[in-house]
Amino acid sequence: MSLTDRELWALIHGLGLGALFLLAFTGGFLGLWSLRERFITPEGIAERIPRLAIWTSVMGVVAWLTVITGTWIVYPWYRATPPEGTTDFTTFPRSLLLSLPSTAEWHRFGMEWKEHIAWIAPLLATVVAFAVIYYGAQLTRRHDIRSALLVFFTLAFAAAGIAGLFGALITKAAPVS
């Protein structure tokens, strides 16, 4: 029972940071959703805002870490070109997928979409975290901003969700090992 360096990084990128992102999204979304003056007392708002700032900041930081590790650590192993004459593509996931018509679409559609759409998540999540920190308790009075943040937060989650889903399916078809 052991993991290679590549498997460990793939695990950190996909499962570790991915799970943390999901957790942070849930906490942040619920916090933003219920941040209304009529729902909470001033004391409640004061108590909730630091926690909301932490959830949204964690989501932003985790989103950046996920795309950076994915792009600069795991992705080069995925797209490595096998030496001339190679017939065993086990350690070359991209080539392995493209070698069979039944799996080629995992790369052509899945990976091609995943590697780009994932980068949208940190951009949106950063704006959400900044706005929460910038406004603090005043966010309860900015219904316009809060609603827009919920949309951005959801879009960030959708982008990360698409990337994560394809990441899991592609790893199942051709793991980085």
Partner: protein, 159 residues
């Protein structure tokens, strides 16, 4: 697009702006208690700048994908090789083996940060029409999303 802090503005809630000891503030009635007392909040300029910046960053990702896909055609037409240009790993030592993705995402992050810095500076201390800003950012994000979608960007592939 920008409303000066001394002019009244209209958004979801009736708003006005004024100054305080700590700088300009937006004055907004509470969200769901429109008859309540007016309460000051910070002006939305820096946050609005972030929304536009995220839209621009997303659009740049999408543009990078489409330009890379069409690089053979563009090279034939004007002699510029986008695919080679976007290889920031090889060109600037930004990683190894990442390929054109390194350029696409680096340019997107630079565009995101630069847009936020510039607009944030221009809109500092100001209350801008947020719904218009938000709609613009969604349009930019929508375009960016579309351009990263393989069936769309493959339309620009050579051959």
């Amino acid at each position: 697009m920008v409303t000066e802090t001394t002019e009244p503005i209209t958004a979801v809630a009736p708003e006005a702006t004024t100054s305080s000891r700590n700088g300009p503030v937006a004055v907004i009635e509470p969200e769901e208690a429109m008859t309540g007392p007016e309460i000051a909040t910070k002006p939305n300029g820096p946050v609005a700048a972030g929304f536009i910046a995220a839209g621009v960053g997303t659009l740049v990702i999408g543009l990078g994908v489409v330009l890379n896909e069409a690089s053979a055609t563009i090279k034939e037409a004007i002699g510029f090789d986008f695919n080679a240009f976007l290889r920031f790993d090889a060109n600037y030592g930004l990683g190894q083996g990442v390929g054109p993705l390194s350029g696409k995402v680096t340019l997107a992050v630079i565009a995101f940060a630069a847009t936020w810095l510039v607009l944030g500076y221009v809109w500092r201390g100001r209350e801008v029409p947020f719904q218009r800003v938000f709609r613009t950012s969604l349009a930019l994000i929508g375009l960016g999303f579309l351009m990263t979608f393989p069936p769309f960007f493959e339309l620009f592939a050579a051959g």
